[in-house]
Symmetry: C2
Subunit: 337 residues, 2 copies
Amino acid sequence: MGKSTIFDVAKKAGVSKSTVSRVINNQGNVKEKTRKKILKVMRSLNYHPNSSARSLVTKRTNTIGLIVPDITDFFYLQFIKGAEVVGIKNNYNMMLLSSRWDVEEERYCLKMFGEGRVDGVLLISGNWVGEPYLNCPELEKMPLVIIDRTLNNHVIPTINVDNKNGGYLGTRHLLENGHRMIAFVTGLANQKASLDRMEGYRQAMDEAGVRESENLIYPGDFTEKSGYQVTRQVLEAGKGITAIFYANDLMAIGGIKAIKDKGLIIPDDLSLIGCDDLELVSLIDPPFTTLRQPRYKMGYTGMELLINSIEHKDNINPAQIIYHMALIQRNSVQSRS
Amino acid sequence: MGKSTIFDVAKKAGVSKSTVSRVINNQGNVKEKTRKKILKVMRSLNYHPNSSARSLVTKRTNTIGLIVPDITDFFYLQFIKGAEVVGIKNNYNMMLLSSRWDVEEERYCLKMFGEGRVDGVLLISGNWVGEPYLNCPELEKMPLVIIDRTLNNHVIPTINVDNKNGGYLGTRHLLENGHRMIAFVTGLANQKASLDRMEGYRQAMDEAGVRESENLIYPGDFTEKSGYQVTRQVLEAGKGITAIFYANDLMAIGGIKAIKDKGLIIPDDLSLIGCDDLELVSLIDPPFTTLRQPRYKMGYTGMELLINSIEHKDNINPAQIIYHMALIQRNSVQSRS
DNA sequence: AAGAAAAATGGGATCGCTCCCAGATGAGGG
DNA sequence: CCCTCATCTGGGAGCGATCCCATTTTTCTT
């Protein structure tokens, strides 16, 4: 027996498949009585239109592909959520793939999506410095929006955050609270976001006339563990450091542990700032000051742009959108004035 | 111009579409020279087989549907991760839908998947008490595995954790450390998991001869906020409570805040235990004792069962799998002996 | 009540692929 | 050199829908 087709429905209802098709897509032009009857037959046969067949002719799948570097990373959750909301509202499903922090894997995901499974792709990219992987031929003509990365090619819209300014703002905040010996803990060296934040840090330090800044930069790798280890180094360096700026929240959390283990109090003995504003920051003791990325908003907007370009709504999409990072003040910065 | 089809490739390579099809699916029986040539043409035309067309005839989509109650809930991440790993290994994509904690929505997701978009469904269910929604007709014959819920119908495999035993173990642990006035903070009243855990708590208390247990049960709703509020109540009740058992970790985290706000020390002044073992528990201060659910493993196994039944590997799938909850000891229980 | 316009229905082509069966080609043995 | 058998290749049907166009039915005018 197997699944029933549009033809079975037509036969049982005593009409043609065209008419059935009309009621499925409720296009009108069907007598109410016929419509009712067909609907009833559909139910009795437990009929559901086959979406492959449908996609084959309409060239629409009504699903959009989403690629993230790591499904289980807290960081990406809000992007996904934002995208989901818009997707649901516009009647799109999401197909989720993870690139597992691998450029090749990312390309592979893109290829998957190039096989007509999706109507468009929302790519939350690992932001590798200098990776020009976007001449991905399988994507030809496929609507694409990239989040968390900025491109200047003016054909693929990108959504990102002003990381440099974030670094600048955070550092300024510490400077304004009287700190001068401010350490900066970087993320992975090949990640643009980390580099940009460091750039902002440098600028602020330079402007403030703190000459030592080069010696205050410590390399981390975005993990909590590295935050812990680097912080131990900082504490043992004995350079008179009074504040630490971490390139992301996870490292800050590791840092907090290290600081507590040393028996020091935050912010009395040491001030610190993180970056990203993960939700769980408010659960940490102490909740700490950090720079917020509007991740929900970014996912939301990204999805909107994508759907715009899928459906050729002729409002012209921006080539790139850049959000500010906002300083969220909590209890981890002590004024030293 | 648009995308090229198998026909374009055939024409340009001077062969028939059948031969092209053979090399696409590398079924052999193609002369090496022809194969090379076709491959080359495919590349030059930037050809990618259309997966809808393919699914239409093969009746396979190579994607599996995954439904979770909330994409952004930390709790579900590890399930997803486990499922993903198996999916990738077996060459399946994942289509992710979220039911947003709504029975109707869950049914709707199921329906989506019933339209031939996926080869099987892995459902992480909101575990509503007494919801018999699984007579979902659109699923007819669709392989399905349910996680985080136990069913006795013996046709849909379920994977769950022994929540009652978890409640029992946690309570025993506190009792063995000399606590008797142990409060229990429940989760949502309509969630089976919460009820079962409470059941275990009751049993342990009864066995230990603590008669007051009914007065020590406080209703929460699984959120951090409710954990905070309930804990304040507990602290102000003045019943001589020395330990609190939370039905999940999030509430425990809220509880910790409340306790700290009162100026009390954990575990010196008050002991506590959570439930689930979220990854972020180790980031909390203090890291607390909790009962681990093997969520990664559950997702992993669930996906395995699902793929088994999709591919009719004739090893018979179990009707249900139940894992133990394991007590993970950290620094939140003080012995009072 | 007849004719025109509008509404409802049916039929066939088509989307891009797989799969079965038939036919062509090539190698090897007598 | 012919026949057999294995290896390659081609052609047509079919998967389950949509969509266009033609045809039938209904409704409305006058």
